[in-house]
């Protein structure tokens, strides 16, 4: 079939708060649920200042490593785990999710797939936040990066979960991804 030209992206702008965030958006699980962890971090700009008007979306496998096919992300009920959430950064540039540590198929490291939107960012950008406590040497993406760049894709382990800061620009700029075959 003929290829259609893709619709260009545009910035999410400053006023997405009236539409995109919703109650429970960053609560993929309840805090009291067995296995609940916190994934959180700060979004920074190229001057090292926090970005208070960014939006982070999270997409991940379940704890068993399976890809989730469950509706209900916008109206969360009970213990249904949908694998998807959304969190606007606060005035200090922080975001936070209550979720489960993702599993992965054998031999593949687990990661959170992350989309970043912000005022001033003209199109969304994609990245991955890998769990640090597994063997990452088999991963082709990580292996293709030098040490400092590679480190931007790896969460820091904490007592209650993981920290993953996002630098849109600057010395610690996060590695952002293009998917092979996309325009």
């Amino acid at each position: 079939m003929a290829e259609l030209a893709c619709t260009p992206g545009q910035t999410v702008g400053p006023f997405f708060h009236c539409a995109l965030p919703y109650a429970g958006d960053n609560q993929l699980v309840g805090d009291a649920q067995a296995g609940a962890i916190r994934l959180h971090g700060t979004v920074y700009d190229g001057a090292g200042d926090a970005v208070p008007d960014a939006l982070i979306e999270l997409w991940q496998r379940g704890a068993d490593g399976r890809i989730v096919r469950q509706e209900g992300s916008l109206r969360r009920e009970g213990e249904t785990f949908t694998g998807w959430g959304r969190c606007a950064t606060d005035a200090a540039g922080n975001y936070s999710f209550s979720t489960l540590a993702p599993g992965a198929p054998a031999g593949r490291p687990a990661f959170f797939a992350i989309t970043v939107f912000a005022r001033g960012l003209l199109n969304r950008v994609f990245t991955r936040a890998y769990l640090p406590d597994v063997d990452l040497d088999a991963d082709r993406l990580l292996n293709a990066l030098d040490g400092a760049r590679r480190q931007t894709l790896i969460c820091a382990a904490e007592k209650s979960g993981y920290r993953f800061d996002i630098h849109l620009q600057g010395r610690s700029e996060t590695v952002f991804l293009a998917y092979r075959g996309d325009p």
Binding site: G9, D49, I67, R69, R75, F111, A118, E173, R180, P183
Partner: protein
């Protein structure tokens, strides 16, 4: 930061327009289908664009799937932005509809579309919007729907007004509706803005012009369609949205049942 914002406001539209024109003149037509993330006329992009090239990866299976949304998530009434208040909103009632397709022309069925917009006076229902235009107590400017089996979405809303912003002195955004859509894969995620035909602000707007390819940026402009217009009720605009190619070739297990 405050000083930077003040100096930004002192930059004239003439200077911004000249900067836009210089970039456009340098563009050789190599086919850039997406906006430039580094686009100096949009001043907030200066510190918020990655400087390193994206790293090209084969998507993991996870990234070949998208989150599911369904009837549990979206109330059909959410597609009518003129309803839900005690009175009718002020402004020109419009129908905005089109199809969500992937690059092969296949409809994206049963997937979430979210929109938000200013009211007819150009004011958002947002505490940070300082534009001294009236709020409309009967208009929130937020809608959601699920696409149908043929990828179709449809909203009933009010035509938004243009509004001023502080990118430079006397900066105005062309009227637009923000769209957020999902495909069948994580990699297809798209947030964009739909514009209206013939807007006199297109040439002046650094956000629209950040798509330096003139053919590509016209893909953001809806078409007035008199066949969609309903007599004595609302005018109609058609706008199809195309996300990147799907990542799966087998039949989607729940694609036809959403």
């Amino acid at each position: 930061m405050k000083a930077a914002a003040e100096s930004a406001r002192a930059v004239s539209q003439r200077a911004i327009t000249a900067q836009i024109a210089r970039i456009a003149a340098d563009y050789q037509g190599e086919g850039e289908p997406q906006p430039r993330l580094d686009y100096p006329p949009y001043r907030s992009s200066r510190l918020r664009h990655p400087k390193s090239a994206f790293v090209c990866v084969d998507p993991d299976e996870l990234e070949c799937w998208a989150p599911c949304f369904g009837r549990r998530d979206v109330d059909p009434l959410d597609a009518d932005l003129t309803a839900g208040h005690s009175g009718e909103p002020i402004g020109e009632r419009i129908i905005v509809t089109g199809r969500l397709l992937d690059a092969t022309g296949k409809p994206v069925a049963g997937q979430l579309v979210e929109i938000w917009q200013a009211n007819a006076a150009g004011r958002y229902n947002h505490q940070l919007d300082q534009h001294p235009a009236p709020n409309d107590p009967n208009f929130t400017g937020v809608g959601r729907c699920l696409t149908g089996p043929d990828g179709r979405y449809r909203f009933l809303t009010i035509k938004p007004g243009p509004y001023p912003w502080r990118n430079h002195q006397n900066a105005w955004r062309p009227a637009h509706i923000h769209f957020s859509v999902f495909g069948t894969a994580f990699t297809q995620r798209l947030v964009t803005q739909m514009y209206f035909p013939g807007d006199p602000l297109f040439g002046l707007d650094p956000i629209y012009q950040s798509i330096v390819d003139p053919v590509a940026r016209q893909r953001l402009i809806a078409t007035y369609d008199h066949d969609l217009t309903e007599p004595e009720f609302a005018t109609g605009y058609r706008w199809d949205i195309v996300v990147a190619g799907s990542r799966r070739t087998w039949t989607e297990p729940n694609g036809d049942h959403g």
